[in-house]
């Protein structure tokens, strides 16, 4: 057995209100690919950031080659021989490849360029050292990042979801390079939630869930089903009283919709779905598989490239936001401060940010009157309606959003991660509000990362993967069902 390169023991990391890592043990041997698997928010990236010196652990220790180290900064980590390719690349776009790699070293770009050619050939990471970074594709940029680490002589290479941005061919090339690296004794930590990739490349797999290690399995011990189960876990379902849904007329019909993300990638790849009045469709999926784009396409914030959106029998494809507000589509976005609210405006003004009526005169007294009513009805804790909304707590901000969206008298509510960052009481309030709306005959599209939320609220569950609904299931928290959802989320066809 080869020697241990890196070992972390009992790592605990707390963020305000969240226990991100709870006594995590993890080790990496020479020449192996150790995969970290887990849902969003399981703590994978936090753990890696601690190893890479971006965060400090509150408790626990890190041993590198058997010696205890305190990693102060990424620079320090790289000096030790620990390198990380982050999801967001850290390259200077206007510099050439060689200049980027020469940054922080004492070599001249020309000497660096020669060495880069050596490394490229050795590992099969093809890149032109004199090309400007902004001209490179995402895959090439990733290669530059890896070369940068190899150039610095990293013994531990951390790859944080490297395949998320790659084409299958690029993924294959990356895996080849990874195998070359391991054959030279470099340890690679691989983060992913695509199970087929995990199966292909990993020597070992450690599954994290909610900041805890669920288990570490050697190659041969794991299969896709087992990993999916471990990743998703057995969710405790909150007891929310609700009646069985009585689906009514068809409210929204999305048909073969294609759309691109902000970065120009294809985010929705022929998605289709239908929601009826009085039902909640929960969409499960790993973040970044088109959830946000789906919500934006329906609310009119994003253009549809092809396909059709029908709302109550009318074609709403590519109409304006205000048209859809008037038609009765409410939207509770994930990003409260960034999208749903205007932080410096008052609570009262935020309650009327989205509105149906078209008036000229802005009557402050009238608006404040209405605002007081909503504040009372939704129990929003605020010093006054004139308080800037940024001074409110997350739960109260969400209440402001919900109060406003519900006041639009909607026929369809799109809720994206509606309880993220909220305490239990607020969470329950959100749940009850949504169910109450459903019972009134509102169609609800729930896009949530947390499975328990989907199980708690949904009448039907769909799983989204790479911009498509890959399958539907029932919201039953049985182990088989959870395993099935887990596999679908990880892109394994069932």
């Amino acid at each position: 057995m080869s020697s241990t390169l890196l070992e972390v023991r009992g790592i605990v990391k707390r963020f305000p209100g969240v226990l991100a890592l709870d006594g995590v043990n993890f080790d990496l041997r020479e020449g192996e690919v150790h995969t970290l698997l887990g849902e969003n928010g399981a703590g994978k990236t936090t753990l890696m950031n601690i190893i890479f010196g971006l965060y400090r652990a509150d408790e626990g220790e890190i041993l590198f080659k058997g010696k205890r180290v305190h990693i102060r900064s990424p620079y320090h980590a790289l000096q030790l021989g620990i390198g990380m390719v982050q999801q967001h690349f850290t390259l200077v776009p206007s510099f050439t490849v060689a200049e980027n790699i020469a940054l922080g070293t004492r070599d001249t770009p020309s000497r660096v360029a020669a060495k880069i050619r050596g490394i490229s050939e050795e590992y099969g990471l093809e890149v032109d050292p004199h090309a400007k970074v902004w001209q490179l594709s995402v895959g090439e940029r990733q290669r530059v990042e890896i070369i940068k680490l190899l150039y610095a002589g990293a013994r531990v290479v951390i790859l944080d979801e490297p395949t998320a941005v790659l084409t299958p061919q690029e993924t294959e090339a990356l895996f080849k390079a990874v195998r070359k690296m391991t054959s030279r004794g470099t340890g690679v930590i691989f983060i992913s939630h695509k199970l087929n990739e995990v199966m292909e490349i990993s020597s070992r797999v450690t599954v994290l869930r909610k900041g805890k290690v669920i288990g570490t399995l050697e190659r041969g011990e794991f299969d896709q089903n087992k990993l999916a189960r471990m990743m998703v876990g057995r969710e405790v379902v909150m007891e929310i009283e609700r009646e069985k849904a009585r689906p009514g007329e068809l409210v929204i019909k999305v048909e073969d919709v294609h759309a691109r993300s902000d970065k120009g990638h294809i985010a929705l790849n022929g998605i289709s779905l239908e929601i009826r009045a009085g039902e909640i469709l929960g969409i499960a999926g790993v973040a970044g598989n088109g959830q946000r784009e789906l919500a934006e396409v329906i609310t009119g914030l994003r253009r549809v490239e092809s396909g059709k959106i029908e709302f109550l029998g009318k074609d709403l494809t590519n109409t304006s936001v205000i048209d859809r507000i008037l038609a009765g589509i409410a939207y509770i976005p994930q990003d409260r401060k960034g999208i749903a609210l205007s932080p410096n405006l008052s609570v009262a003004e935020n309650l009327f940010l989205r509105r149906k009526e078209k008036k000229v005169w802005f009557n402050k007294r009238e608006i404040f009157g209405h605002a007081r009513r909503y504040i009372e009805e939704y129990k929003i804790k605020t010093p006054s309606p004139a308080t800037a909304v940024k001074y409110l707590s997350g739960g109260n901000m969400q209440k402001v959003v919900i109060a406003r969206e519900f006041s639009l008298d909607p026929r369809l509510i799109i809720a994206v991660h509606p309880t993220r960052g909220l305490d239990v009481a607020s969470m329950e309030f959100v749940y009850r509000s949504l169910i109450k709306a459903r019972d009134k005959g509102v169609a609800i599209l729930l896009l949530a990362g947390e499975l328990y939320e989907i199980f708690n609220l949904s009448d039907r569950v769909g799983v989204i993967y790479e911009g498509k609904i890959v399958g539907y299931t029932t919201p039953d928290p049985t182990p088989e069902n959870i395993e099935k959802i887990g596999l679908m989320m990880a892109g394994v066809a069932v």
Binding site: S342, L353, R354
Partner: protein
């Protein structure tokens, strides 16, 4: 352990206050140094001049010492060892010092002027304020009278000097008496009334008479003198009478022509060529030279006559001013309305200034006349006796009478005897004339030196003093001062030349300048004088000459000891006088240095005055308040437009260009569209269309931002340049008025915005104020304003809320541009009335500051633009009162603004003292 001291939030307000205080402090220091540097520059100039003098004077003793050394080495002079240095007072030094004294006096006067003007106005109780102003006005009037008095005195002295037969004396005296009455009693109105204006008119008439009489008289004197000298020549000249008589007739004719043709310099030139011919052929070069020299004052005279004309016209205009003053005073007494008193005061102040200037011109004029007169006197003296120094007089007289007798003889015999006899007589006279010529040569050399010197020095010193005084008067402009300084340098150079001439050429002949040696002690006879003048050659050179000298002395029976004694005394005198000059100069300069000590104090007073002007002048209705309001109006327009877009974080830097569009449109409509039948009804149309032009201009940048995401900061800024150069093109090109300046015609009177009463304040400020209400309503009372705020705060949320960002960006930019354009149109109709090249008031840029300081609040915008307007007016006022250059004022304004804006950022934070 951390210890925290939290300072309450309101304490943040201290930050801008402190920063403004610091800025004002910096401003004080800037002004202080500026004011201080002005006199210190003068100080440097004076010291520079002193050094020049010193070097000149040191040059002489060095030379003399060398001579002494040589003499000592030659064993010739024993007494020379014991020469005391620097005891006797010298008249050369007193001459130099008297010139310097003039400089000092002017300097001192300028200090007094600065000090007086920097005296702060005493704060009277409210009820005495009016009284105080009245006193001030009376003071002005008294000053005006005394200035006039001075002018008239000058005129009087001119008359007394040059026109003895003028019988204006009585009228003048009574007038002056009346004037002094005004000054003494202070009871302004009644006494002013008693002044008989006919006296003034009498004075003017007298002056006119001088103007007519003066050149004629000068001409008469000149011709007489010339005739005399021609006569003299005729006795002496060895050539045939007819030939030189022809030449002289020619010459005379030319001079006559020159004078009758109004002092034509070319004819003078011609005359002088003829004279030159005479001098070349014949022996009277010195005489000729004097004639030539005497012609130059005639040129000057010509100039001076025109100066008299000027003085006359200035005096007459001063008298008209005085009449106006008196009328105003009477009016003031009759109605005693406050406004009338103010306008009277202003009027009197202006006329006072003019009078002061007149007085100054007159004094320069009289100085010139005096110097001219003395020159004539000298000339006359020279001809009368050919010898000003008494000791020389005898000799000259003797020779003169000899010559006269000889000439008389020749004349008699010429008539009686035949031509052969005449020839003999002429031959006889030649010897006499030769010997005369030798003496005369010496004397004329002297005369010419004197004439040259007094001309040069007098002229240069006059010019210098004039330049310096002018420089001091005009607030000691650097350029003028340096001119004066270079003048002083020139004087120094000339003095050097002069001293050199005297020392090298003929020290004995500089009696007039009192640098020369005492003739009595060494001049034994004519030959000794000759030896003395050639002593330089003797000292410098070989034995043969020394031997020759000795031989000469022997021949003339002058003992060597006696000769040496004379020489020793001569040099002794030189050195003593030089030493005295230096002593006197040094003590003068020491006094001067003491005087400069007061500069610091005066400078501090100036700083205080600057503060006072900045804080009070712009806000007092009778002073700068109208200007403040007129400054405020365009700032309010642009500021209001900008708060609208700034609150949606749309950085419109182009209010300047939008303002220009309004300006151009208003002009175009006024000058080229509605110019046929201009009527008041079209004013609102002009204003509105001007606003629309600004709106369109801003909408360009808005559309670029909304649809192509082009940075509005860059595009608006670029549009500013386009608008500016467009405007410049129109001013220089198609719209240029038929004047010499690149400017447009004035718009028709009908389009002028009405003003408040008689003040300069136009109703634009009312339009701007009412727009504030509109902006307030738009921003706070409409859903549109709400939408704009939402866009500004979080564009994502706005988009999510269905707000059309692109449309609103264009619209808001257009409204913002409308305000700026309206401001531009208002400025044209209300204030400028026409456009001229380089019109770039920067209201658009200042509007940015206004909007920012007002924290995007419409009501605060009114306050801020008012204060800012006051700030600009105060800056102008400092410039005027302290004679600061504009750059200094702009720098001070910059410092204050910078502090304010910088502190705005700090204002957002809480000050917290943390101790670990």
């Amino acid at each position: 352990m951390e210890k925290r001291l939290d300072i309450p939030k309101w304490a943040g307000a201290v930050v801008p206050i402190i920063s403004v205080v610091i800025a004002l402090l910096i401003m004080g220091i800037v002004i202080y140094f500026y004011m201080y540097s002005k006199p210190s520059y003068l100080k440097r100039a004076v010291f520079g001049a002193f050094n020049e003098y010193r070097s000149i004077i040191y040059r002489i003793p060095e030379k003399s010492w060398d001579r002494f050394e040589k003499m000592l080495k030659a064993g010739r002079l024993k007494s020379a060892i014991a020469i005391p240095k620097g005891k006797l007072s010298s008249n050369v030094s007193s001459f130099a010092i008297s010139r310097l004294e003039e400089v000092f006096r002017s300097t001192e006067e300028s200090y007094k002027f600065v000090r007086d003007t920097s005296e702060t106005v005493k704060s009277f109780p409210k009820e005495f304020k009016e009284l105080q102003e009245l006193y001030e006005n009376i003071g002005y009037i008294i000053k005006a009278y005394s200035a006039l008095n001075r002018t008239i005195n000058n005129a009087k002295s001119i008359m007394n000097n040059e026109c003895n037969d003028c019988d204006l004396k009585e009228g003048m005296d009574s007038f002056v008496e009346n004037l002094s009455k005004v000054g003494a009693l202070g009871d302004l109105i009644s006494d002013a009334k008693s002044i008989d204006l006919s006296d003034v008119e009498g004075t003017l008439k007298g002056l006119e008479k001088i103007k007519l009489e003066f050149p004629k008289e000068v001409k008469k004197i000149f011709l007489e003198k010339m005739a005399k000298s021609v006569k003299t020549i005729s006795h002496r000249c060895p050539i045939s009478r007819s030939s030189w008589e022809d030449l002289l007739t020619d010459y005379k004719k030319n001079v006559d022509d020159a004078i009758s043709s109004g002092f034509n310099p070319f004819l003078f030139e011609k005359a002088s060529v003829i004279l030159d011919n005479i001098s070349v052929y014949y022996c009277f070069a010195p005489v000729v030279r004097i004639w030539n020299n005497s012609l130059e004052p005639l040129y000057d005279l010509h100039k001076k006559v025109s100066t008299v004309e000027q003085v006359y016209s200035q005096l007459s205009s001063a008298s008209r001013s005085l009449q106006g003053v008196l009328k105003s005073l009477e009016k003031g007494r009759t109605f005693f309305v406050k406004d009338t008193v103010y306008s009277t005061a202003r009027y009197v102040k202006n006329s006072y200034k003019r009078l002061e200037l007149d007085a100054f011109t007159a004094s320069v004029f009289s100085k010139r006349i005096k110097s001219l007169k003395s020159l004539y006197q000298e000339l006359e003296d020279l001809y009368k006796g050919l010898g000003t120094p008494s000791e020389m007089k005898k000799n000259v007289e003797r020779i003169s009478s000899e010559v006269k007798q000889l000439s008389g003889k020749i004349e008699k015999e010429k008539n009686a005897l035949s031509e052969d006899f005449l020839k003999t007589a002429e031959g006889y006279s030649k010897d006499a004339i030769d010997s005369f010529a030798k003496v005369q040569n010496e004397l004329f050399q002297r005369g010419s030196i004197e004439a040259d010197l007094s001309k040069y020095l007098g002229l240069l010193m006059d010019t210098y003093t004039y330049k310096l005084e002018e420089a001091l008067r005009s607030g000691i402009g650097r350029l003028k001062l340096s001119m004066a300084y270079s003048q002083l340098k020139d004087v120094s150079k000339d003095l050097t030349m002069f001293l050199r001439n005297i020392a090298d050429y003929c020290p004995s002949l500089s009696d007039k300048m009192k640098l020369s040696l005492d003739y009595e002690t060494y001049v034994f006879d004519m030959e000794a004088l000759r030896i003395h003048t050639s002593q330089q050659i003797v000292f410098d050179s070989d034995k043969t000459k020394m031997e020759m000298e000795e031989a000469f002395l022997k021949e003339k029976k002058i003992t060597k000891e006696k000769y040496m004694e004379v020489l020793g005394k001569t040099l002794d005198g030189h050195l003593q006088r030089v030493g005295a000059i230096l002593n006197d100069l040094e003590s003068e300069l020491r006094d001067l240095t003491k005087k400069f000590g007061q500069v610091s104090k005066v400078s501090w007073i100036a700083v205080g005055k600057a503060f006072k002007q900045l804080s009070t002048w712009p806000f007092i209705p009778s002073q700068g308040l109208p200007d403040t309001i007129n400054y405020m109006t365009p700032l309010l327009f642009t500021g209001l437009g900008l708060i609208l877009v700034f609150q949606m974080k749309l950085w419109n830097i182009g209010a300047e260009g939008q303002f220009y569009l309004g300006v151009m449109t208003a002009l175009w409509l006024s000058l080229f569209v509605f110019d046929k039948h201009p009527s008041v009804a079209e004013v609102p149309v002009i204003l509105f269309v001007g606003g629309l032009a600004g709106a369109a201009w801003a909408a360009i940048a808005g559309a670029l931002k909304a649809f192509l995401n082009i940075d509005e900061i860059v595009s608006t800024l670029m549009l500013n340049y386009i608008a500016f150069h467009w405007m410049e093109y129109l001013v220089y090109g198609p719209w240029k008025a038929p004047t010499n300046f690149p400017e447009t015609n004035e718009i028709p009177r009908q389009f002028f915005l009405p003003t408040f009463g008689t003040s300069r304040v136009h109703i634009g400020v009312i339009i701007a104020m009412s727009l504030t209400i509109i902006v307030y309503l738009l921003m706070r009372k409409t859903w549109w304003g709400f939408d704009l705020r939402a866009i500004g705060d979080n564009p994502n949320a706005a988009r999510y809320s269905g707000i059309d960002i692109a449309k609103n960006v264009v619209l808001a930019m257009a409204v913002s541009g409308f305000f700026a354009g309206l401001g531009g149109a208002t400025q044209i109709l209300g204030f400028e009335h026409k456009l001229y090249h380089g019109y770039a008031p920067g209201y658009g840029y200042t509007g940015i500051i206004i909007a920012w300081l007002a924290r995007l609040d419409p009501w605060a915008t009114i306050l801020v633009s008012f204060l800012f307007g006051g700030f600009l007016v105060g800056g102008d006022q400092i410039q005027l009162v302290l004679k600061l250059p504009k750059a200094v004022v702009v720098a001070i304004e910059g410092v204050i603004l910078f502090s304010l804006i910088a502190s705005e950022v700090l204002f957002k934070y809480r000050i917290r003292v943390v101790r670990k």
